[in-house]
């Protein structure tokens, strides 16, 4: 155990300076619901914590039909769950944010932290992938964008450099007859990490699917965009057969492991079950719009 300094920058620019000065010893702190636990367990040993929650740029939460959603990386999940506009336009993202931990955890934790922690099982990541969310990343060198599905590189590691901060997510406004859904499987009814998580968003024109995206969690070293499965739905009616085909294609890209949360065989089975289930719910929601 060593001494830690804590900084609460009041602007992004200040935060970037602090982070650059700290080098390898610095780390962004959002809700701390992953980071503090990892520090206690000795898994991560940062010496300088730079608080993301005090940076105004990271607290943005706005929606317009024209711009879509801007979701600041440090917005706590309770704000997402309680936001009527998000509930209306992005029910799947709200479902995912609502599943994280307990009321207490949701009051602290953030979607940015969920992604930057780099866990393949993070609940909001497949939901973001389904929505085609893009990450805005800032550093002293400027700003770059990264698709959510390209953000995590291996368990616990992301594309972020030590001097980079995830500022916000941008998510397109949903076209007419578009809806998303996220479901995960856990053995209990709360306080668990996804054995498998699947997010899906679909757009319908009548019964025909004109766009679809499926994101998978906890079935590979990183969260996955199920590209082929998604593409297989486009141009077809969203019926049981199309859904079954997409589920099988999603299973094809899953490379799960066996661990204390489930066997590889079981996870593969669940990818099929959950893909079918979320596609059905998303389709029903899209029809209702």
């Amino acid at each position: 155990m060593h001494a830690i300094t804590y900084e609460a920058p009041k602007s992004l620019e200040h935060a970037l300076r602090l982070l650059a000065a700290a080098g390898e010893k610095g780390r962004v702190l959002a809700g701390g619901t992953d980071l503090l636990i990892q520090m206690r367990a000795g898994v991560r040993t940062p010496e300088r914590l730079i608080d993301a929650k005090t940076i105004p740029e990271l607290q943005v939460l706005s929606f317009s039909p024209h711009e879509g959603l801007r979701l600041g990386a440090a917005v706590p999940c309770y704000r997402i769950v309680e936001d009527p506009v998000l509930c209306q336009h992005y029910p799947g993202l709200v479902e995912a944010a609502g599943l994280i931990g307990s009321v207490q955890i949701k009051n602290r934790c953030t979607v940015g932290g969920n992604l930057c922690n780099g866990s393949p099982a993070a609940d909001t990541t497949p939901a973001l992938i389904a929505l085609g969310a893009v990450c805005y990343v800032a550093s002293p060198r400027g700003t770059r964008t990264v698709a959510v599905e390209d953000f995590v590189v291996s368990p616990g590691r992301t594309v972020l450099q030590p001097d980079e901060v995830l500022v916000e997510f941008r998510i397109p406004a949903p076209p007419p007859h578009t809806a998303d859904c996220y479901q995960r499987f856990i053995p209990r009814n709360e306080m668990d990490i996804a054995v498998v998580g699947v997010g899906a968003a679909v757009t319908l024109d009548g019964e025909v699917c004109t766009a679809a995206r499926i994101g998978l969690g906890a079935v590979a070293p990183t969260p996955l965009f199920a590209r082929e499965a998604s593409a297989s739905l486009v141009g077809k009616p969203l019926d049981d057969e199309a859904i079954a085909t997409a589920a099988e294609l999603a299973q094809k890209i899953a490379r799960p492991i066996t661990d204390m949360r489930g066997t590889a065989e079981y996870r593969l089975h669940l990818v099929g079950v959950l893909t079918r289930r979320v596609l059905k719910v998303a389709a029903e929601r899209a029809r209702a719009r």
Binding site: M1, F185, P187, R188, N189, E190, M191, D192, I193, D259, M260, R261, G262, T263, E265, Y266, H269, L270, V273
Partner: protein
């Protein structure tokens, strides 16, 4: 004075518990709340290997770290001779116990203690652990009970020989002991059967999951006396075990029990206590130790995983003709699984003429098991009650009716021999048969498969030694002092028993749990014994106080004590016109009538009343994910006499909750190297409140003839039926007999898939 059931004024009511306000306001002092001036903090270095020889330990760098005051390893603990000893109610092997709390030449499981450091802060102690250099020679681990029994298995304890075998062998082995219970003619019994069912079962090692981690604060004085403050179920056992392990005179150790945040059997032995006392001795300063959750899971005593084969036969009329059981229990790294109790409980609810039960106690590279609520009985009932259910199904008899036809009654010989006195097993079966739950149809749940299951369970309960003091205060209230840590509302129960005898209200009695120097010997809070045995001592001590009060009144009135009557807190004189005195009036006059009144009693009651339970559960299964939801649960139990019905119901609900966790999700998950992978409550899945329905209870009161108030132990038997009841419900829902615990979603989903694939 004889207390008649219909006259109870306090027993059977639901007063607020005496320790309640302190607990809900956060004032109660648990083990980790204790802090002494100049106190050091100690941490334990634990083995990262499941099985390894310790080649060397270099503590020099740790000792050199500023703030570090002492380091101990196995070398600092006395070497003890082999062999077991009777210690109170426990048979203990002090040598193995010492080797368990600090490894000597070998580490035998992931988390086995290797060294301990005392420093001026917990952080320094932690840093110092990283500076200890241990050289290991890694050995192959053995993690499966049947593999551990094989001739070519890696041997854990070279000195171990199987006890209980017909012929003595000098071969090193992992089989610590074997037992057999048999009677009648097994073959003839199976020949007489119209239906025979035989199945194999496996269960995983599971932990009690108490919320409060183990802790100890120790102080050692220059005069050779030491004090230990600790959250424990047995302060007297801690004293005795520390005396053995450290070779200190028993009378030189005082143990002060802190408030206890759960035990369930897991806090009946020692882990940190001797280490803290030894470090206190070495440093001359008080030493505090508190485990992390991971340490609790890796290195304290869970209960056994097991392998059980069970075969039973029955006639068309529904009479069981024979039963044969073969069971091997994981002891952990040192001998002492509850396989004996498993053998003695597995068939106990039934009247059987022909039976044979073989049990094996097997060491392997997992933590040494400790008691857990009805130790050994839950695994056993999972096997036997599934087979019973299948027999009933094959015979087309209602499973409860089948149990009623074969159920044990007064006079039935137990598998282990002795006959039952008056018991209430059949009454629990009938209580479920007649319950609104069992008579209601199963609910329909869209998209789910639903099923209902029943199962029964048995537990002996315990007696053992207890001491109690009941003293009368000058205002006519009373104090009850015992040595039984309160893990289930027993302060309230003891106060209520004294109040009943003295004619006081429950809140006019102050129950106190004290240390080992302030009360006579009292065995552990365990075996569901406190309300029975300590309650017995309280009853006797209160009677002793009443006898003295009558003497004092006789002195005041100048009559014979026999002429004084004590009734409902009032003394009166049978044959002359003295004005009756309330206890309050009499208590105020004691100073001039012979001095204070203190009743006392020390007991070792033999009339233990066993506990029986029958449960019914409704479940809904998601056929695709295999997830099981408990829709409704009702538990009927013979509780003898419910002193405080709310706490009896609480015990039943708690036991069922743990049984449901054991059934569905809980397990020690080891990788192939024997490293435990789920060392926290995230992945060691005890049920959350969202996973449980309100658990309904039916209290069946068949008084125990062996207790003046009819009391039986109630705390343990409710954990016994749930896994079997849920397995039987699963069968009704999915058509597959689940024979492996936990019946986790993955296993259930696989069972459904395979059943659907199989040709019908």
């Amino acid at each position: 004075m004889e207390l008649q059931e219909h006259k109870f004024k306090v027993i059977g009511t639901r007063p607020i518990r005496h320790d309640g306000v302190d607990k809900v306001t956060g004032r109660a002092k648990y083990g980790a709340d204790i802090s002494l001036p100049g106190m050091l903090h100690a941490k334990v270095l634990r083995s990262p290997h499941a099985h390894a020889r310790i080649k060397s330990i270099d503590v020099s760098a740790a000792l050199a770290l500023p703030g570090v005051k002492a380091v101990i390893t196995g070398k600092d603990l006395p070497e003890l001779p082999p062999g077991s000893q009777q210690m109170g109610e426990l048979v203990v092997n002090p040598r193995y116990l010492s080797m368990n709390i600090m490894a000597r030449d070998k580490v035998l499981y992931d988390g086995h203690a290797v060294a301990a450091v005392a420093a001026t802060s917990p952080h320094i102690a932690e840093e110092a652990l990283k500076l200890i250099k241990v050289e290991y020679e890694i050995l192959p681990p053995v993690l499966d009970v049947r593999k551990a029994m094989q001739d070519d298995a890696p041997i854990l304890l070279p000195e171990l020989r199987t006890s209980g075998t017909p012929e003595k062998s000098d071969k090193p082995t992992n089989i610590a002991s074997q037992v057999r219970f048999a009677r009648g003619d097994l073959e003839a019994g199976f020949r007489a059967a119209d239906v025979i069912v035989e199945r194999e079962f496996t269960t995983s090692m599971v932990h009690q999951g108490y919320i409060e981690p183990h802790n100890a604060v120790a102080q050692y004085n220059a005069d050779g006396h030491g004090t230990i403050w600790v959250s424990t179920q047995g302060p007297f056992s801690v004293r005795e075990l520390c005396s053995h392990i450290l070779q200190m005179p028993l009378g030189n150790i005082k143990v002060v029990p802190a408030e206890i945040g759960g035990g369930f059997g897991g806090k009946t032995t020692v882990y940190l206590e001797p280490l803290a006392l030894l470090l206190a001795k070495k440093t001359g300063r008080p030493v505090k130790m508190v485990m992390s959750r991971a340490e609790v899971l890796r290195a304290t005593g869970p209960t056994s995983g097991s392998y059980i084969r069970c075969k039973m036969g029955a006639t068309k009329e529904g009479k069981i003709t024979a039963a044969q059981v073969w069971m091997a229990y994981e002891a952990g790294a040192f001998p002492g699984s509850p396989v004996g109790a498993g053998c003695m409980t597995i068939l106990a609810p039934y009247a059987l003429e022909n039976l044979q039960i073989d049990g094996f106690d097997v060491v392997l590279n997992k933590p040494k098991t400790c008691a857990y609520r009805a130790p050994g009985a839950t695994n056993a009932a999972f096997a036997a009650e599934t087979v019973i259910d299948e027999l009933a199904e094959k015979l087309g008899i209602d499973p409860l009716e089948f149990r009623r036809r074969n159920g044990a009654k007064e006079g039935t010989a137990q598998p282990a021999g002795p006959q039952f006195r008056r018991i209430g097993y059949i009454e629990t079966v009938e209580a479920i048969m007649n319950s609104e739950h069992y008579r209601s149809p199963l609910p329909h749940v869209p998209g789910k498969l639903v099923g209902r299951g029943v199962a029964s369970g048995f537990w002996f309960n315990a007696g053992f030694q207890s001491t109690a003091i009941v003293s009368i205060n000058s205002d006519g209230t009373a104090n009850v002092v015992t040595g039984s840590p309160d893990i289930g509302g027993t302060r309230a129960a003891c106060a209520m028993i004294a109040a009943e005898v003295l004619g006081l209200k429950a809140e006019e009695v102050n129950p106190v749990v004290t240390d080992t120097e302030s009360i006579g010997h009292t065995d552990v809070t365990g075996g569901s014994r406190v309300t029975f045995a300590t309650g017995y001592a309280v009853y006797e001590a209160a009677q002793d106080a009443v006898r003295q009060l009558k003497e004092r009144a006789a002195t005041i009135w100048k009559v014979k004590p026999e002429d004084v009557v004590y009734q409902d807190g009032v003394v009166s004189c049978v044959n002359n016109g003295h004005e009756p005195m309330t206890l309050k009036q009499l208590a105020g006059r004691l100073a001039r009538a012979g001095g204070p009144v203190t009743g006392r009693a020390a007991v070792n009651p033999r009339g233990v009343g066993p506990g029986f339970a029958t449960h019914v559960v409704d479940i809904a299964v998601d056929p695709e994910t295999g997830k099981v939801d408990i829709l409704r649960y009702t538990a009927a139990q013979d509780v003898g006499k419910a002193v405080h019905p709310s706490y009896v119901e609480g015990q039943i609900q708690g036991g069922v909750a743990q049984g449901i966790g054991w059934a569905l999700n809980e397990e020690y998950y080891y990788d192939e190297n024997g490293i435990m992978r789920n060392t926290g409550f995230l992945d060691y899945r005890i049920p959350t409140c969202l996973d449980l329905p309100m658990i309904e209870t039916i209290l069946v009161e068949v008084p125990n003839p062996g207790h003046p108030l009819g009391i039986r132990g109630v705390g343990e038997v409710p954990i016994v039926p749930p896994p079997a009841a849920i397995a039987n419900a699963l069968y009704r829902a999915i058509g597959v007999r689940m024979t492996e615990l936990p019946m986790s979603p993955a296993k259930v989903a696989k069972a459904v898939l395979e059943k659907n694939k199989a040709p019908q």
